[in-house]
């Protein structure tokens, strides 16, 4: 017989204690837009649910040292309404706001999107491209890890069972830096990415790219940080040659699966096109932020 307990601790330590002490499977709850669906379908049958939303600071956005700290359970809607964040990290915000519908946005969080560990999660490539880090709390204290190191495979993360994410850090921006995220879905709305591409660039005064990060979603078991794509952009003003190199590097990086949403060949092709288009948007935004 299955029984399910629910706890809403008021502190990080209390939450860690609950997770560590759970007898069966314990699940952290943020917005619940993944977890509740999985509970209902029977895909996951935890013994304990630890709702983090009562923990002070876990919902909310702060500007710290010129960068941003986003609470793990902050909703997509709050992220979308934060004007300063949207100005500095438009790619992260647009990716987060693509998640689901208005209703889902009222709940869906970055931590949930990341830790659900779907290869197609929309905010993840954008966060990776932006160089975001996750602050993970556990019995031994807190550790900070790059977002790309959190997910280890579909449905799997590098978090221990008594750890959870408390917040994300987005670093202070150099001038002429910006990001962009694009995804491809067959439908117009409410669909899961067939491919997602996040691009983050910094330009010099002449418009030449001095730093870049490119991340692709839904084309491999986890979101990819593609160094060759970044290399294709650095040193360029995004001319045809750089775009072609970017396209090729993106396609080379893909290890997608065939499924109902898209074939392998199609996903690979789309990854190249989206990387190009996202790069173009990021360059344009960066140039405008001088």
């Amino acid at each position: 017989m299955s029984s399910l307990s629910y706890a809403a601790p008021a502190t990080v330590d209390e939450a860690i204690g609950l997770l560590a002490g759970a007898s069966g499977l314990a699940k952290v709850l943020s917005g619940g837009t993944d977890l509740l669906v999985q509970l209902r379908s029977g895909r996951t049958r935890p013994a304990l649910i630890v709702d983090t939303k009562k923990i002070p600071g876990i919902i909310g956005i702060r500007e710290v040292d010129g960068g941003f700290v986003i609470g793990a359970a902050t909703s997509g809607a709050m992220i979308g309404e934060h004007a300063a964040l949207a100005a500095v990290y438009p790619g992260v915000v647009e990716a987060t706001n693509l998640i689901g519908s208005t209703q889902v946005q009222g709940r869906a969080s970055l931590a949930g999107n990341l830790c659900n560990a779907s290869p197609a999660a929309d905010s993840v490539p954008a966060m990776i491209a932006a160089g975001a880090t996750a602050v993970i709390a556990g019995p031994k204290g807190r550790r900070t890890v790059p977002v790309e190191q959190v997910v280890t495979g579909p449905g799997r993360t590098s978090l221990a069972r008594d750890e959870f994410i408390v917040e994300f850090h987005l670093p202070k921006r150099a001038p002429r830096s910006a990001d962009a995220y694009l995804r491809f879905i067959p439908r117009t709305e409410m669909d899961i990415a067939v491919v997602g591409a996040g691009v983050n660039v910094t330009l010099d005064a002449a418009g030449v790219c001095t730093a870049a990060r490119v991340s692709l979603g839904a084309v491999a078991p986890t979101a990819l940080l593609v160094a060759d794509c970044a290399a294709a952009l650095v040193g360029s003003k995004l001319d045809e040659h750089a775009l072609a190199k970017l396209d090729l590097a993106a396609r080379d990086a893909c290890k997608p699966i065939d499924d109902k949403r898209g074939t392998i060949d199609f996903r690979i092709k789309v990854a190249g096109v989206l990387a190009r288009r996202a790069a173009a948007i990021a360059f344009e935004r960066a140039a405008a932020r001088s």
Binding site: M1, T188, E189, F266
Partner: protein, 751 residues
Amino acid sequence: MTPDISLSQVPAHARHGSSIGRPLTRREGVLKVTGVARYAADNHPAGMLYAVLAASRIARGRVTCLDVPAAMAHPGVVAVMTPANRPALALDPDAKLHPFMFRLDLLQSDAVRYANQPIAVVIAETLEAATEGAALLAPRYEALPARVGLDAGESFVPPVVGVGHPAEQLVGDVEAGLASAARRVDATYETPAQYHNAMEPHAVVAAWDGDSLSLDMPSQGMAMAQARLAGLLGIAPENIMIRSPFLGGGFGSKGLIAGPQVLGILAARLVGRPVKLVLRREQMYGPVGHRPPTRQRLRIGAGADGTLTALAHHALITTSTFDDFFEPAADASHTLYASPAIATSHTAVRIDTGTPMFMRAPGEATGSIALESAIDEAALACRMDPLAFRLKNYAEVEPISGKPFSSKALRACYAQGADRFGWAGRPLAPRQMRDAAGMLVGWGMGTATFPALMFQAEARAVIRRNGGGVVEIGAHDMGQGAWTALAQIAADAVGLGIEQLEFRSGTSDLPDGGIAGGSAHTATAGMAIHAAGGEAVARLAELAMDDARSPLFGAGNAGVVARDGRLFRRDDESRSESYADILTRAGLAQVEGRGKSGGDPAAQTAYAMHAHGAVFAEVKVDPDLGQLRVTRLVGAFAAGRIINPRMVRSQYYGGMIWGMAFALHEEAVTDRRSGRMLNANLADYHIPVNADVPEMEALLVEEHDPHVNALGIKGVGEIAITGTGGAVANAVWHATGMRARRFPIRIDDLV
């Protein structure tokens, strides 16, 4: 002598004071948007228990073990109904006494014939306990390999298709026509299984009182459900009361009572308390019907000038292993295009699936998308504009039967639709048009058609001395606006303003309103109402004309007109008398009329009866990604008399959205290994969301039909799904040069 009160011969719009033709809003709209409308599952009679189905996770085999003790041990669980203890039935659920009696899965054995088949019912004090109890049953199976898809087995020619049509029909010599053709098309199209997916799941709240049964249950056909239940349960139909005031959609899946609803009723019998059973979304993918997949081969021959010489349409379809429903997909080729030779044929394959059922233009929709695509291919082969090609092959009489049409304003539909869309000047070749953003733009069209059917119904009308009236009919409002349109007909039938009329509907103790299906509800129920109102008015007229004190005395053959609560002499409208005066003088509180409707066999023998339309679509395709959006849809439809243009437009919009979904979205995917559905939920089974829906226009093309029925009504519910799917597919070809032969169109096929 019967006075002439056949008001309907006068065109509606010409009639002063008529409710017919007015764009009234839904009568029940306020109830719905304020949450007051009570759907079946909103009912909670005192003492009610919750029933939850356990459904099979294999597609073929046997249930070998159900852990009933574990479920019973769960707190709150009251009973577990299995084949071992299910209350006895008066009729074997596998009996098939007539073609429209479909076999039901009512726990008659441990056999599993399809995935999601009900295998047990858990009844508990709460929904949660029943749900948990169902999970605790932890069924074990002896599974056999599932037979999946169109190639799963030997195909055979079904005895009949659809509602009893021959599986094979032939006029002329198709092979000779093809041989002599200057241009030929031979193309095979595949369409997927689709599920009705009404917003409201199938539900029942059942309460027994001795041998009387009270049901809250969405139904598109209460009288048929009553009769079916009476047979199964061995009680009199009058002892079954069904309340079905509102349906959250049905699309054919609530036309006949579904097995799970009967199981809810049996569960209530078992526990001796009222029981509610509501299907979960994924449980709707199995026991409540679906549209089967098809593989259709179209062979078309045409002369160098584009005149058809032959049209052959073959459809391979699936059906279940245990019942007979055969989607009449090829019949779409019977009526639209003139050809000296037409052959339609069907073959079927039995697979491990729930029995397919009538779904949104069954046959017409499936066949239309293939036919309209093939016609587009034939036009191209003849280097002709697709509209010019269709006009070249315009059917002046119904091609398969040679009968004249009772009315057919399709030419006007083509002309008005094309004009509104701006079709003229469309380049013949594909990939010629781009928008400002560099998207490929394509235009396509398709012809829509749907038969104008009539079923049987009854109604009762009362005219009261106080100036009011009542019309009663057990009609079904499934969201289409039936109560509004039928009340409009009723008001005219009794000659009252719609505000003076009380329209009662939605329960089975009222006169049988027939079935809300086949796009025939307005015509069928409307004609019964028309007849009942006519009879009530005739009573009044007799009272007045026989009474020397009445201004209408002796009107005789000239007859009277009923309007605004008065009777007028037809030949002299200055002579009139109010209903109140007539009834007061006669010392009567009210007069009553009863009416029946049904098809007119003589007219049906003499004429082919169909609604028609033309649909034009624009799509935009991202040349690099294949990303595809429908940006414009214009449909022009002629369907006889329009009772309520607002409701009718909304039916056309809905139909066009279905058609678009057919071309681009809807598809049920079955796991080949297990025979289970891979996308039995609305996240993975795609129907269009609002953002997918383009700018749409539906033009109402004037048409008068003196033969379909006295009111001149054809159906509007299903026609717009036909034509639209083809129009979208043809537009995709025009944008990309890629011909879709597999639906829904996969973006990967376009790049």
